[in-house]
């Protein structure tokens, strides 16, 4: 499944969430991550995020796009971090 994750969390936890998500997804720009995950990774990701964050105060949106083909990305301005596995 292809995920787009957007988060808005307390400043004390921003770095924790950022570090955690970097293990699974590509960092797109501040508080936005994107990438393909397997079903088991998706479960680990969700439970990991629940452990880090405070569900009463923080907000994380997970867009489950199923497939990379289902959407088209358009960029206005600079693209901070193109997803690349050929460096």
């Amino acid at each position: 499944m292809y995920l787009l994750i957007v988060y808005d969390v307390d400043v004390n936890r921003v770095n924790k969430v950022n570090k955690f998500l970097k293990m699974y997804l590509h960092w797109r720009q501040n508080s936005v991550f994107e990438g393909e995950v397997s079903i088991s990774q998706f479960k680990k990701l969700k439970s990991g995020l629940k452990d880090i964050t405070n569900e009463d105060k923080d907000s994380i949106l997970i867009y489950n796009l199923k497939d990379r083909k289902n959407f088209k990305l358009e960029v206005i301005g600079i693209e901070k971090n193109p997803i690349e596995l050929i460096l």
Binding site: K22, M23, Y24, G35, E36, I86, L87
Partner: protein
Amino acid sequence: MKDPLYITSHGILQRKGNTLYFVNEEGKKALPINRINEINCYGKVSLKSGASSLLMKEGIPVNFFNMYGYYEGSLYPRVQLNSGLVVVQQSQHYSDPEKRAVIAAEIVEGIKNNILKTLRYYLKKGKDVEPYIQDIEKEVIKGDVAQIMSNEGRIWHSYYQSFNKILKNFEMDKREIRPPTTEINALISFGNSLLYVSALSEIYHTYLHPSVSYLHEPAERRFSLALDIADIFKPVIVERVIFKLVNNNMLTEKDFNHDVGVLLNEKGKRIFLKEYQAKLETTIKHPEIKRKVSYKYLMRLECYKLIKHVLGDKEYRSFRMWW
């Protein structure tokens, strides 16, 4: 599906926050460790000790290539799938000449079939490859391993000769390596070394021992089983990528360095890698397991079939293109 990471530029891989960072002059890039299954380094890449221990823990092999694109070696994680039984049986099939010839012949049959499929595809498209097809069809694969290897040599020879008919530009004179002397030789060498490591990383995920092989001699310092597996898939993956890149003018003179021999430059390597990776991820419906599998996974299936064969479960039948 996890993807391989290719690094063509120079830089340092380091561990930070339990994931991998690639640092070079352009900056720092975080790489999701859980999305990577192997790393192939074509540039000058340094690994910090933190990074290497993380990669070994996660079971991600790192393959190194020199500036000519030749495989130099791997940082190979502790073997996680160990089965003494499979290794013993695998070795017995090697040391018994008759049993070995059975597997070797089957591999060459696979190569022959896949080459013919590729050539027939181009025959349909109006390329004059008929004589080469006839040459290859004439080869009868039988006898001991030495005879089978000479069969294989002749098949490859006719096949490489046919390139002049298929390719729109660049000439194929004869196959030459170390260093390749023409553009096509450079492309074949680069593609083959890529396929070799792809096969190796698939073998890593099975119980097979990567250096006990059947068609190739299990030479020292090399994982020769990967060569066996890779050979079957060369016409399906490497050559098709080359034909596409050359005939669509995606690669031109400018993408090569003419120095000692001819080699792809960094931009050319990137173009090739992108196309190669797309090819590996192409999926096809498998008639037996009845679901879509990628070309890369077909190599894994090849390993599973070999395991079944050496354990005496089911006779090995090499991969033949069915489409």
